[in-house]
């Protein structure tokens, strides 16, 4: 589609914050390339732009300087933001690219600020969804949320992510440290990657480790990779770990580099997720890409079961006894490990690559016309 001025229609992306090494940031930058390659003009406008990406995006309030007839707004919906009411005021034809957000109840009692922001996000969604031409969701779980908010036309498209980072050369120092410790102590290395927040339920992982060590493998270790946005939860988690006598067995390295992350995926025996809310679960796909078997809670965990498909041991609950038995089986049954790794790699291929970009182009062209 060409505007009256003879230029291709623009599909501009708007989002709350553009950050490097962040799933939404990576997705937004990759989608811009996909949109441009398809023939649309496309720029990024954000409420906050990280210094490292200052050349990649404009502040959202600078949009009028770039506005043209026929512009389409594509909003990366991740949390509450002033960008939502700003877009409602602009009245542009709107596409929601919905990454889901943690419901306020999951922050209740922990972080009043996060609880308030999550409640505001629900209001932002109620404001924009009924007006959207199209809602793109990462999973049928998120698609239901969009439909319930009033979005009339929806499609499911996976996230555009940089999964190659988990198979790139791992940080040799981190890999050697993990390897040496295992050689000295024995025991399995259990990995989870995700922010340390109540909805990821890292305390359930600690309970599972405690049970696993008691019943099956007294030397097992748990690696909880990821930063935090909840001091109260992090503090409670750390004190819980100390009280259980697991200070030497649970490591909280915080946010790590891509190469260090690759080392964790390479050295771990199993990826364990007991999260109670995932709109998609990029780390699950990273684990599958790395050939790491997954044990995960499925029921009540959002999109986890859909993301992993049949390529993981998906449990009905986070019951520590059940989780421990599943970990034991995965860590000691080579045939099962091979089966899960093979199925995981195949499932990961389904969720990445050029075809994902094509899915976005087809869905968007379906409502705004071919570029």
């Amino acid at each position: 589609m060409i505007t009256a001025a003879g230029r291709p229609v623009a599909v501009h992306q708007f989002l709350p914050a553009l950050n490097p090494h962040d799933a939404t940031g990576t997705h937004t930058l990759k989608l811009r390339e996909v949109l441009r390659a398809a023939g649309w003009r496309s720029e990024i406008f954000a409420e906050a732009v990280h210094d490292d990406l200052a050349a990649e995006a404009y502040k959202h309030w600078m949009y009028p300087e770039h506005a043209a007839d026929g512009d389409i707004a594509l909003y990366q919906f991740t949390t509450s933001s002033v960008v939502a009411p700003y877009l409602a005021e602009q009245g542009l034809p709107l596409i929601l690219d919905f990454h889901n957000f943690t419901s306020p109840e999951l922050f209740a009692g922990w972080e009043p600020g996060n609880e308030t922001r999550a409640a505001q996000a629900a209001e932002d969604l109620a404001l924009l969804a009924p007006e959207a031409l199209l809602g793109l969701a990462r999973s049928t779980y998120s698609e239901r949320t969009l439909r319930h908010a009033g979005c009339r036309r929806t499609a499911v498209t996976p996230v555009l992510a940089d999964y190659a980072r988990v198979t790139a050369a791992p940080d040799p120092r981190v890999a050697a440290e993990l390897r040496d410790r295992r050689a000295a102590e024995g025991g399995a290395d259990i990995l989870f990657v995700g922010r340390v927040v109540p909805s990821k339920a890292q305390h359930e992982l600690v309970k599972a480790l405690w049970t696993y060590r008691r019943l099956y493998d007294g030397a097992a270790r748990l690696h909880l990779v990821g930063g935090t946005s909840s001091y109260a939860y992090s503090k409670a988690l750390y004190d819980f770990i100390v009280d259980l006598g697991l200070a030497g067995a649970v490591r909280l390295p915080g946010e790590v580099s891509d190469t260090a992350l690759a080392a964790y995926y390479e050295q771990a025996d199993v990826f364990l997720s007991l999260s109670v809310h995932e709109g998609f679960g990029v780390p699950l796909v990273e684990a599958m890409t790395a050939g790491l078997p997954i044990v995960a809670r499925g029921a009540g965990a959002g999109a986890v079961a859909q993301t992993v498909g049949d390529a993981a041991l998906v449990l009905e609950s986070g019951d520590p006894a059940y989780v421990a038995a599943a970990l034991h089986r995965v860590c000691t049954d080579d045939a099962l490990r091979r089966t899960l790794a093979d199925k995981g790699r195949r499932r990961a291929v389904e969720l990445q690559g050029e075809k994902v970009g094509h899915q976005f182009v087809e869905a968007i062209a379906g409502v705004v016309g071919q570029p």
Binding site: A108, G109, W110, A126, P130, T140, E143, R144, R147, H148, R152, G186, G187, A188, H203, K207, W210, T211, R214, L215, D217, A232, K235, A236, L237, D239, F240, D243, L244, D269, D310, L313, D319, P320, A321, Y322, A325, A326, H328, R329, C331, T332, D333, D334, A335, L336, R338, T339, L340, D342, K343
Partner: protein, 341 residues
């Protein structure tokens, strides 16, 4: 790690069945572990309690009594501060300061403990009163009506579909059908050229169809309408919904419709009559419902007093009827005074 020696081996032709078999073996392993006493149930409870002990008070306690127990535990403020120190003279310095300041700090903390204790006592009295009220209210609680479908509510016996579609033809906006079931009427409305969606509280029925081409949602009608913008709907169809409602629930539904149905919008109500409701072959939900169907002329009267022009059409065998009403103004629904007729 020891190699697992289970019986199951992967079948290259059917890896899915293999994983299912593994899951079953894991469940059996858990059962045996529990039966052997390796993992007493109290252990998991103790793990939960230990984590909660480190959590903020807001995360703990599911009710007021539990929260008050935590308040009671935190009521006493200890003025005797710990004096341990990693530095050589640190403990002696801290102890000296504690001794010097204890008369002052102790006086302040004593008053704070007294104050907190008084507040806690008052809250306990409130808690006792609330519990007594809950006990009394629970005994008199009127349950919400469920969807009750008669043969005339759904195809092929639903004679009222064509008149309903005709009434909706000029609906000035989106049409809602409650209870929509699998979306059979929503599809008919969409096929007639209108924009429509459906809701139904029966989750298993809606779940199967929710993400298809039709917009169907697993929601209760009154709760849903409360979330819809004022004058946001051009038409509302109620079938299998209103017959068993008690007066209060029906009043709340009509109030919500009064807010969400745009002026000029159409309200369609299909209801069975009292004869069908009381018949021996009526669905069991009719017996359990807190209310009974209104007469068709009562519906017309109630709607006309609430700003609608309403008409009733009786079904071919007289067992049910259809109300079609057009909203003429924004008069909010009001409960009729008893004995007004």
């Amino acid at each position: 790690m020891a190699e697992h020696t289970g019986d199951t081996a992967p079948d290259p032709e059917d890896p899915g069945a293999y994983v299912q078999q593994v899951m079953a073996e894991i469940a059996e392993e858990v059962r045996l572990r529990r039966a052997s006493g390796d993992l007493p149930p109290r252990l998991e409870r103790e793990l939960d309690e230990l984590f909660l002990a480190h959590s903020p008070i807001g995360v703990r306690g599911g009710d007021l009594s539990e929260a008050l127990r935590l308040v009671d535990a935190a009521t006493f403020i200890d003025p005797v501060v710990p004096v341990e120190s990693e530095r050589a003279a640190g403990a002696a310095v801290k102890k000296g300061m504690r001794t010097m300041l204890l008369w002052y700090v102790g006086w302040v903390t004593h008053q704070m403990s007294q104050s907190t204790s008084a507040v806690s006592r008052a809250l306990h009295i409130v808690d006792d009163h609330l519990k007594e009220l809950e006990r009394r209210i629970e005994a008199q609680r009127v349950p919400d009506a469920t969807v009750v479908e008669f043969p005339t509510s759904v195809p092929p016996g639903a004679w009222w579909i064509e008149p309903a579609l005709a009434a909706l033809a000029k609906a000035p906006g989106r049409v809602l059908h409650a209870a929509c079931g699998n979306g059979w009427l929503v599809r008919r409305i969409v096929d007639s050229g209108l924009d429509a969606y459906g809701i139904d509280p029966r989750a298993p029925i809606v779940d199967a169809a929710e993400l298809g081409a039709l917009d169907l949602r697993d929601e209760h009608v009154t709760e849903h309408l409360r979330a819809v913008a004022a004058a946001g709907l051009g038409g509302i169809v109620l079938s299998g919904t209103v017959e068993g409602m008690a007066g209060g629930e029906r009043m709340l539904l009509l109030a919500a419709i009064g807010v969400t149905l745009a002026p000029g919008g159409t309200l369609v109500i299909h209801s069975v009559g009292r004869g069908a409701w009381e018949a021996a072959d009526a669905p069991y939900g009719a017996d359990l419902a807190p209310g009974r169907p209104l007469r068709s002329d009562t519906w017309c009267r109630v709607l006309e007093e609430s700003g609608y022009t309403a008409a009733a059409e009786q079904g071919p065998d007289g067992s049910d009827y259809l109300i079609t009403a057009v909203r003429t103004g924004l008069t909010p629904y009001k409960q009729p005074e008893p004995g007004i007729r």
